[in-house]
């Protein structure tokens, strides 16, 4: 038990800080007036990160097999704590979250981070479901954070309805799997599946599809992506920033974990092969293709930048899903690399959208007019983030695509998917440059062409995200090697 608690230390740290904030918030009302809660979030994320680093080396199943520790889990913890910390930092400078709402906001994102950790830790369907629901319920609240805004309320409600449907499907799927294999823990499911020697009843495949619905909702993959644009557009920008990175990565982490432990066998040399009778590749290829095509084509027509980036985030899910088609250790480390690159560039892009929204009270394309000339640093950073999202060399997004397409080509199958993928990135260039066009190629309206000075904290933060985007585009091997270690541990 004690060992289990030790393995759970990062989450415990998070919960500890969370409860303290809760108490402080109740007893010292003065604290809610200033920046304290957000700084508290950054501190707790940092502490949780330290706890992860200290607990490194523990591996195996804990809490009677409910959770498991692997290198992969450690990576996703770092990822979530980072994303959460950055979100808090972004919110510090944002006007969209009112001052008096900051402590609720802080509590909620901390709690959500805790839920995301649970999702990835889970080695058992019950734990997974608890994690997913923790994240979902808090997401509903966060999406509706601006109580006065009807858009925000609508976003929250839409999120709730889609969430209810997909988690309903998922839990039904889980019950079917339980009926078939008699197990809820991943390794036990794998064992039961291996025994059946490649013949599974139809209902099992149906159950898999239903379970995928739960994941698809979280990562916003086709056909459960419809909520994404409405929610991103409706929720306050800092919230959308967090949604576009945090829960998405949690969904991928949980899916990765599930596929690797419940549906695959580890062979010698670290290669995972699907258990006999389970063919994920063709289905994943189709889902991946549909996700990126739908995301990219829908993004073209958008005039609201938040909505556009929401569709773009769907398209990126399509690229990442390509890694699930190949299923080699190299592909998994490509997924991890892609998520790291995506984290920095997407957080950055959303952050800038937030800054513009604060300045112009809107996030339409026309609000971006001439912004590059008004704040050149921000304009250059946005160019870096968007070109990186497109996948143009020099930036980390290119390396992400280079690795993922490379895996497909190396596998010598699904070349059509690679072809579709690269053509999609050409399409994505078109809408990303719409933002750049507004920022640089068009003049600001004469009424507000004055230089817009960003506070130092924002400049530092933006450069802090832009620099890794460039550096990872030129020297990616250390991170890639780290990703390989995380996968094999």
């Amino acid at each position: 038990m004690l060992v289990s608690l030790k393995a759970f230390a990062p989450e415990l740290t998070l919960v500890g800080f969370l409860s303290l904030l809760f108490l402080l918030d109740g007893f010292v009302p003065k604290l809610r007036e200033n920046r304290f809660p957000l700084i508290w979030v950054i501190v707790s994320c940092f502490a949780a990160g330290v706890a992860t680093a200290v607990g490194k080396g523990l591996s195996g199943d804990f809490f009677s097999g409910l959770v498991t520790e692997t290198g992969l889990v450690a990576f996703f913890r770092y990822f979530f704590f980072f994303a959460c910390g950055v979100t808090a930092y972004v919110t510090l400078g944002s006007k969209e979250i009112e001052e008096r709402g900051r402590s609720e906001f802080s509590l909620l994102i901390l709690c959500m981070t805790f839920g995301m950790s649970l999702m990835v830790l889970a080695n058992h369907f019950l734990m997974l479901y608890i994690g997913i629901e923790t994240v979902s319920i808090i997401s509903f609240v966060l999406a509706g954070f601006n109580r006065e805004s009807s858009r925000s309320n609508e976003a929250s409600f839409k999120y709730l309805v889609y969430g209810a449907v997909s988690s309903g499907l998922m839990i039904y799927g889980i019950s079917l799997v339980y009926g078939y294999t008699g197990a809820l823990s991943y390794p036990a499911i794998a064992e039961a599946l291996i025994k059946n020697n490649g013949t599974h009843p139809f209902v099992f495949y149906l159950a898999l599809v239903m379970i995928y619905a739960g994941f698809a909702y979280k990562i916003s993959s086709f056909p459960f992506h419809f909520w994404t644009p409405d929610v991103y557009e409706g929720s306050p920008t800092p919230v959308a920033t967090f949604f576009s990175v945090g829960p998405k990565a949690a969904g991928f982490g949980a899916l990765l974990h599930f596929v690797l432990t419940a549906l695959s066998q580890k062979q010698e040399g670290g290669v995972f092969t699907p258990i006999a009778g389970i063919q994920l590749a063709p289905v994943m290829a189709l889902i991946s293709a549909a996700t990126m095509v739908v995301g990219n084509l829908s993004a073209i027509a958008q005039t609201n930048v938040k909505r556009m980036l929401a569709f773009s985030s769907i398209a990126h899910v399509g690229y990442v899903l390509m890694g699930f088609v190949v299923m080699t250790p190299a592909a998994f480390s490509s997924i991890i690399f892609y998520l790291i690159a995506y984290c920095a560039m997407n957080l950055g892009a959303f952050w800038i959208v937030g800054i513009v929204t604060d300045e112009k009270k809107g996030s339409e394309l026309s609000d971006f007019k001439g912004m590059g000339w008004r704040t050149p640093v921000m304009g250059v950073c946005m160019a870096i983030f968007l070109f990186s999202l497109t996948g143009i060399p020099l930036f980390s997004g290119f390396i992400g695509k280079f690795l993922i397409f490379g895996n497909l080509i190396q596998s010598q199958s699904y070349l059509w998917l690679a072809l579709l993928g690269v053509l999609n990135s050409v399409v994505s260039l078109y809408y990303y440059t719409k933002i750049l066009r507004a920022m640089w190629l068009e003049k600001p309206e004469s009424s507000d062409s004055a230089e817009l000075r960003l506070p130092l904290s924002q400049l530092v933060g933006l450069l802090g995200l832009a620099l890794p985007t460039v550096i990872l585009g030129l020297f990616f091997s250390p991170v890639l090697e780290m990703a390989q270690r995380w996968i094999t541990q």
Binding site: I392, L394, L419
Partner: protein, 509 residues
């Protein structure tokens, strides 16, 4: 050999210049301009040094710099030049330097303009020096970024459309190249991006198949096509040329010069650097198709040029036509033809740069470029009497362009036709292709007549002749055009051994 990493210096000094310029104080445009002169001047000087120190007796790559960059993928920082790249490198540094002067009149966002311009030069240099495909690809793509902004911010009326069209077309080509690059890496043993090693072991791509959309294709042909489309868009080969008139016309003068003078050559350079040595069998298989495309380019470009009322558009289409000669020469598979093609790449770079610069000179003065205005009235007309120096320069440029003996264009076009004719397979193509010369003479002379000769259009009677800056910008090109027309050996000697090796690998004696 030289200890100095001269190619890296030539590539990264402009990049350094970009950062220096961005750091310069605001509101001092002249300081920015002179800084650009310095940061393009140093590479030019290095280029001149390179010209005199380049060993003309060997086909091996020279001035090699080779450092492992990303071990996991065997990617190297591998720079080096051979006879194929040297003319292009020289063209790049020369035109970049001259274009700094040609951009002197830009007033809006001077800092940003020159920063982007220097960034562009770094990208171009890198493309011609890189011998590692990954490195090549990075430079190739990186060039698009400054180009997008240069056209989109400092361009003409339809700049936004022109910029995105250029960007989308080129990116579409390069993503296919990316896939081909990845396939070349994963299908080669050992996995490598080293272009010379890939060319050395080119047989390993033979007799393999890939499955695409349920059908089997020969690996080398698929890869050849992927690369070809990527390069063809840049050349541009018909039917991928539609971005060109827009980009050339909307871009500011200096950027048009770089586009036509250097960027188009990257396409044909890429074909000769990759398609030819790495997939020789597929190249032979596709050579007739290339020949046909080359002829279409020549004729189609010429006819389009003939129909233009806008001077700059005429020059733009003439580029399409002239790049057709390059394709034709390359597809001829003869020594004379390929030599002529590379020579034409260089010569077209100088002559078309002159034409674009001259069009820019006129535009700066009268703010239009109409040969005939859209409403049918006279655009220019008879301005030879007010701007004699300008007229003389234009005459040299266009005679060089249409291939008048004694000027540079003649040599390369003659070589191309000579080579193509000596291949019995293609004699009939020469007959059709040589019509292009006739058409070229027609549209250029007709343009000359309508713009410079005849009665003076009174609107332009106050037009001033070229100033010292413009004259000095054009002078080096003018000298090159005349000298290479009389004595082409300086360029032919540079590339001789390299092309001989390339051709012998292709099975051409």
């Amino acid at each position: 050999m030289a200890q100095l990493p001269i190619l890296s210096l030539m590539t990264f000094i402009p990049l350094l210049g970009m950062f220096v310029i961005l750091a310069l104080p605001k509101g001092k445009p002249n300081m920015v301009r002179w800084a650009s002169v310095i940061f393009t001047g140093i590479p030019l000087l290095l280029g001149i040094w390179l010209y005199f120190n380049f060993d003309r007796t060997t086909a091996a790559v020279q001035f090699v710099e080779r450092v492992s960059w990303i071990k996991a993928f065997n990617i190297e920082y591998y720079m080096g030049i051979d006879g194929l790249s040297v003319p292009m490198v020289l063209l790049t540094v020369l035109l970049s330097f001259l274009c700094v002067f040609a951009s002197w009149g830009i007033e809006k966002g001077v800092k940003g303009y020159y920063a982007m311009f220097l960034f562009l030069e770094a990208g171009m240099m890198g493309v011609f020096c890189a011998l590692d495909f990954f490195l090549f690809f990075i430079f190739w793509e990186v060039m698009l970024l400054p180009m997008y902004f240069l056209i989109g911010i400092w361009g003409g009326k339809d700049k936004v459309y022109a910029a995105i069209k250029f960007f989308l077309y080129t990116l579409a080509g390069s993503v296919l190249m990316l896939l081909a690059m990845l396939a070349m890496y994963y299908y080669s043993e050992p996995h490598t991006f080293d272009l010379l090693a890939l060319a050395q072991n080119h047989t390993q791509f033979l007799n393999k198949t890939v499955t695409l959309f349920g059908a089997q294709y020969a690996l080398d042909k698929i890869l050849w096509i992927g690369l070809f489309i990527g390069f063809a868009i840049k050349v541009p080969i018909w039917p991928f040329h539609t971005w060109l008139p827009w980009a050339h016309v909307e871009a500011p003068t200096a950027v048009s010069v770089i586009l036509a003078g250097v960027l188009l050559k990257m396409g044909t350079y890429g074909l000769l650097r990759m398609n030819y040595p790495i997939f020789p069998e597929a190249t032979l298989w596709a050579s007739t198709a290339m020949m046909i495309l080359g002829v279409i380019n020549i004729i189609y470009g010429a006819f389009c040029a003939m129909a233009q009322k806008d001077l700059k558009k005429l020059v733009a289409y003439s580029s399409v036509s002239h790049m057709g000669y390059v394709i034709m020469g390359m597809a001829s598979f003869t020594t004379a033809g390929v030599n002529g093609a590379v020579m034409q790449m260089f010569n077209h770079g100088t002559s078309t740069a002159m034409l674009f610069l001259l069009v820019g000179v006129a535009y700066d003065r009268v703010h239009h470029r109409w040969i005939i205005k859209p409403d049918g009235s006279k655009g220019f007309g008879g301005i030879a009497s007010v701007v004699p120096v300008y007229t003389g320069m234009m005459a040299i440029a266009l005679f060089a362009s249409l291939g008048l003996p004694g000027l540079s264009g003649f040599i390369s076009e003659a070589l191309v036709f000579l080579g193509t004719f000596s291949n019995p397979k293609y004699q009939s193509y020469v007959v059709v292709g040589s019509l292009g010369i006739l058409l070229g003479a027609a549209y250029l002379l007709w343009m000359f007549m309508r713009v410079f000769l005849g009665p003076l259009n009174e609107e332009h009677k106050d037009m001033t002749d070229m100033n010292w800056r413009e004259k000095l910008t054009l002078l080096p090109l003018c000298v090159l055009v005349i000298v290479l027309g009389v004595y082409p050996m300086p360029v032919l000697n540079l590339m001789g051994p390299t092309l001989a090796k390339l051709l012998s690998a292709l099975g051409v004696a």
